[in-house]
Symmetry: C2
Subunit: 370 residues, 2 copies
DNA sequence: CATTTTAATGTAAGCGCATACACTAGAAAG
DNA sequence: CTTTCTAGTGTATGCGCTTACATTAAAATG
């Protein structure tokens, strides 16, 4: 690879000025067709590729947006990677449930897909990075190194410490997905789903179609607005039926299969299971399904179980899980869309969007379906 | 947001030269500690964030690498996205098998994860884009817009037309994942898995532990080296047992569940099922499982079925699928790792790495496991 | 045919940084 | 006390573009 050709090389080759070369690329309609052809020929001949850095610098915009995803698992635990070609293929026996899969990542992947898709359509480049929860003090190097290079940021809730967000917000538009940093809501654009409405609709369904009179709620420790709304929806559902929310038991654990498993198992032992166990997310619901199955309790005949999120596993579990599906891909697309609007009008008030969800009825409440 | 502060602002504030400001950021050890403090204070005060564009331009490198993923489905079919907040939550009944899921994308997501991870560790930014198969003629705008901004590229096989790759290769290091463009192998660094060895090991297992004497191979139309190697491994396995590869039937369809379903269904009707049906990928194998289940044929008692890839669905199917797991995340990591090496030594000969795979034994060959 | 308008191109000034080189003052060496 | 180094800092140039402005030629207008 010889030295990369620049505008100057192209200009010389085509015997025009560098301004004309630039115009051929940016505003072709402003240059005479014959000239354009000459220049394009030179570009092809030299294999010229403009420098993004120079362009961004001169144009004062990068046409790139950044996306922060939450930390996956324990990044710290991930060691160096060695490039060694091994020679044998292992054989391992893979027992069922071997993997307590952290399939939250799937959630992120879908959001990412949406961002990818929409930025592609908008002609923007997308930069992706893993957020660091780390200590809040100094802005972590990596968050910085990305922020330098983009016009705006999209941040999934809980990927980046609030304090860091506050700092970044001073220099860049930031669109939050799911939740804005507490006490700074008015500073950020926000895209989220209608958690309250989704849960409400689900609860109404349980009343109307299944004559459930008694339900319990299972959730994690997280008190994010995002999550709080789901509980609100639950309570409203109860009230709409003339029931007192405080009468419905609420079980708090963690948003994981294993913890939910334990809770459900102990409820089963004590014989204190409700008619319907409404879970704040799918992971918990899946744990519950396993626990009830192990305890010999039939779902949905004896107990109805519901989840929230619409992760892939929920559609292949035994029985398949009734859940409220979040439009993850659309979340990503909406975030990009919002960011683009924001870049267009930096001064307009915060944009907040709530995307509709979809209650998906499956066997964990409906009984056998074909 | 007022005008963004620059080195000049910081320099004035700290009463030093811009060179010193730059040094504080790049080579802190070369500036007196007191000066450093003053400058850092100014940086914080102003909320200064260096410009990536300017930096990259001056330093002649972006510290960013690009990743091209294959087109998902029909991008063309994806319409405009409207930012409307709807008010209701839909309720839909979700029948089983509603989704002929394009879970290849999961494969990409894992590779992406690996790239993310490793570039994070290497202190590089990662830019992600969807490749365009499109017409080969002119380099699509989007591939261009990304290539301008990165130091090197990682490309999943079949994301970008070979001709475009040939063009890009002239200007940038390009690391291929899975397959290099035909006839240009020697131009690209390559990271792939040991397909041949994996398939061979799997076939050996079927011979040794299951006394299978008669197997058939099912594959798609793709004749990529990547895929060809799997068949090679299959043949070698047969030969190692003294069998003639040509004696084993080979069924060609497409790498999809639905096509595989049809093939297997018709084999079942004709009563020409082999003892073991070795599939070139998991999607096909899953289709086969469904077909056999519908035909009332028991797996693995009557027919053994195996896949290749290790996608998530394969671990939750009924029965769970024996397969050869590709280390997708490691593929991504290895690709980044390779690219970094390449950037370090542009002139060294092509780097080709083969990562080991893992045969995962599950119920589709082993019978009931706990 | 002189004058105004328009289209096409060129000239030149940055964009915000990194860095080679120059410079200074004090420390080390003689 | 002079000379040589060295550490710390500043000066100035250029990275490869975009774009405001100037310039010129051709077309439109009266």
């Amino acid at each position: 690879m010889a030295r990369k050709p620049t505008v100057y090389d192209v200009a010389r080759e085509a015997d025009v000025s560098i301004a004309t070369v630039s115009r051929v690329l940016r505003t072709p309609e402003r240059v005479r067709p014959e000239t354009r052809q000459t220049v394009l020929k030179a570009i092809n001949l030299l294999g010229y590729l403009p420098s993004g850095s120079a362009r961004s610098l001169a144009a004062r915009r990068t046409n790139t947006i950044g996306l922060f995803l939450p930390n996956i698992d324990q990044l710290d635990q991930i060691g160096d990677f060695e490039l060694v070609s091994e020679d044998a293929a292992d054989i391992v026996v893979d027992p069922p449930h071997a993997q307590e899969n952290n399939s939250d990542s799937l959630y992120f992947d879908e959001v990412l897909r949406g961002c990818e898709l929409e930025s592609w359509r908008q002609g923007l480049s997308l930069m992706v990075s893993i957020g660091l929860k780390g200590k809040d003090g100094d802005i972590p190097q990596l968050i910085n190194s990305m922020s330098e290079k983009v016009d705006g940021l999209i941040v999934l809730a809980r990927s980046v410490p609030d304090s860091v967000l506050a700092f970044l917000r001073k220099r860049l538009p930031v669109v939050m997905i799911a939740n804005a940093p507490v006490n700074q809501e008015s500073e950020f654009d926000l895209v989220r789903v209608s958690n309250r409405k989704g849960m409400y609709t689900l609860v109404r369904h349980l009343f109307e179609k299944h004559q459930v009179r008694q339900m319990a709620y299972m959730t994690g420790m997280d008190d994010s607005p995002d999550n709080g709304k789901r509980y609100e929806g639950f309570c409203e559902g109860l009230k709409s039926e003339g029931l007192e929310p405080s009468a419905a038991p609420i079980y708090r654990g963690q948003f994981s299969q294993s913890v939910a498993y334990q809770i459900a198992a102990s409820l089963a032992r004590q014989g204190t299971l409700p008619q319907a166990l409404v879970c704040a997310n799918d992971q918990m619901a899946l744990g519950v399904l396993r626990a009830l199955s192990d305890a010999g309790i039939s779902v949905p005949d004896q107990v109805i179980v519901t989840g929230f999120d619409g992760i892939k596993e929920a559609s292949v579990s035994q029985p398949r899980l009734t859940t409220v599906r979040q439009p993850m891909v659309d979340l990503g697309r909406a975030a990009v869309s919002t960011l683009v609007r924001r870049l267009g009008s930096p001064e307009c008030p915060p944009i907040s969007t709530e995307l509709p969800v979809q209650v998906q009825l499956r066997e964990s409440c409906e009984g056998t379906m074909v």
